[in-house]
Amino acid sequence: MLMNSKKIIQVEHLKYEYPQSNQHLALNDLSVEINAGEWVAIIGHNGSGKSTFAKSLNGLLDLQNGSIVIDGLPLAMETVWEIRKKIGMVFQNPDNQFVGATVEDDVAFGLENQGIERAIMQTRVTDAIERVGMTDYTKREPSRLSGGQKQRVALAGIIAQQPEILILDEATSMLDPEGRREVLETIHQLKQETNMTVLSITHDIDEAASADRIIILDDGQVVDQGTPAEIFAYGQRLMALGLDVPYPEKLKAALTTLAVPMPSEYLTTERMVDYLWTLHSKM
């Protein structure tokens, strides 16, 4: 796998306490390493520190302790703007991150901040909008877009900025299933085209299943990590970790109580279907 590739995110001993939180640490000695090109899902129940972690990576929070190195660059006052260029973030609420008055203005916003020349800006904006399939909506105002479309515009803004890392902070949690599917498809396609490093903070089982690695946070610490197959094998325990139980695991549990023999490892939908069919053939 990606064992020998470059470490793009190196986080050591992060500590963060929100003001007025009575010394409850949102991040408690958190250390994580993420490889370039890796897709990592971060899960955990509400209040486990997931979003705090995401916001600390590009200096949106002032840490009390610890070090963050992004693409070889240590996060500090002097490097924060350079690091923000390397990280694109999509947040939860589609409405509250739409800065521009129209789709194209919003996509251009990040480029304007970097002072990029207008001619380059134009081609990048047009290209980015096309890649998320929003070309027909270029001049639309946000109030006339669906939630899924707004999140795709946010993704286009990130594509235009060409960062190394994409952070999704519960980016699909406020969308309807259709919007969620649209956005997830766009992310998959993006990942394929650019091989960006993706860090997704999520409760969504499909989003987590897309990852190479799942990291579980609790009380501001990494409590466990593994491939989706390893983590999904936890079955009912996943619920408490802030993730839905994958359907094959639910069915496995239901069948086990009915004394049907079931393997202990995690089975994807396809493998579960195959397994059941093989079992059926033995009858």
């Binding site: 359907y247 239901a254 009915l258 004394a259």
Partner: protein
């Protein structure tokens, strides 16, 4: 208390260039004591229909009968309060309706508007906080100091405190984490089963429809596309897929099994149902040991 739509149409801003159709010739009945799910795409008329259930909107044609009250286009806007007390409505992201200084006062706000004396309304609030599964110490807190999930419970408690006969919920679990979603759905099941409350829920989660509802209304472009029991609605997976409405995960999984060669005599809706159907077609552990 039954709610019946008789040939109801609703047009937005009639006679202006912004005229738009919300509902078109909709006839349906939401029976007392039912657990009704309303499904359909964004823009299918779900929210318009919802707002007719407690007379926030009046039909531009047809009649909505709510209990013994008839709402027609001519109905006066006054004296609709009795309806709003009987049909409690929880909007999407209801936490945004909180405004009082304390949780207790906010929950007591609704009942007081319907003439319940302050002391009684405050007492109801204590009970409601417990009912929605919040610790008693939140009563004196500002609702704005709570987490998003807790705020939503407070908002729901505020509607329940009105002691409605019908509870209308617009995507009540949107944006919650899995545990929050499960607890929320359990609360509605409790209200339905223990208090016999009529539940009307707009949802995109077909699993919830399959697991909890006993009546489904499918809307499309402001019209009633289908209605019936979940089993009747999900009996035609091709129809639902064509309409991009999705299927319960179990039904979808069963489709894959059917393609392999499994045969089921009816559409399975929940994993337990599917497991039972599969058990009959699979060797059991006991059988294996015997080999």
């Amino acid at each position: 208390m039954d709610i019946t739509f008789k040939d109801v149409s609703y047009t937005y801003q009639p006679g202006t260039p912004f005229q738009g159709l919300g509902l078109e010739h909709v006839s349906l009945t939401i029976e007392s004591g039912s657990y009704t799910a309303i499904i359909g795409h964004t823009g299918s008329g779900k929210s318009t229909l919802l707002q007719h259930l407690n007379a926030l909107l009046k039909p531009t044609a047809g009649v909505v009968q709510i209990g013994d009250r008839e709402i027609t286009p001519e109905t006066n806007n006054k004296n609709l309060k009795a309806i709003r007390q009987k049909v409690g409505m929880v909007f999407q992201f209801p936490e945004s309706q909180l405004f009082e200084a304390t949780v207790q006062k906010d929950i007591a706000f609704g009942p007081q508007n319907f003439g319940v004396p302050e002391a009684e309304a405050m007492a109801r609030a204590i009970h409601m906080v417990e009912l929605v599964g919040l610790p008693a110490d939140v009563l004196e807190k500002s609702p704005f100091d709570l987490s998003g999930g807790q705020m939503r419970r407070v908002a729901i408690a505020g509607v329940l405190a009105m002691q409605p006969e019908v509870l209308v919920l617009d995507e009540p679990t949107a944006g919650l984490d899995p545990v929050g979603r499960r607890e929320m759905m359990a609360l509605f099941t409790r209200l339905h089963e223990e208090q016999g409350m009529t539940i009307v829920m707009v949802t995109h989660q077909m699993d919830d429809v399959a697991n909890y509802a006993n009546h489904v209304i499918v809307l499309e472009n402001g019209q009633l596309a289908k209605s019936g029991t979940p089993r009747e609605i999900f009996a035609d997976p091709a129809w639902l897929t064509a309409k991009h409405l999705g299927l319960p995960t179990t039904t979808q999984f069963a489709q894959a099994l059917i393609q392999k060669g499994f045969v089921f005599d009816q559409v399975p809706l929940t994993e337990h149902e599917l497991a039972a159907m599969l058990q009959a077609q699979l060797p059991s552990k006991v059988g294996e040991r015997r080999e």
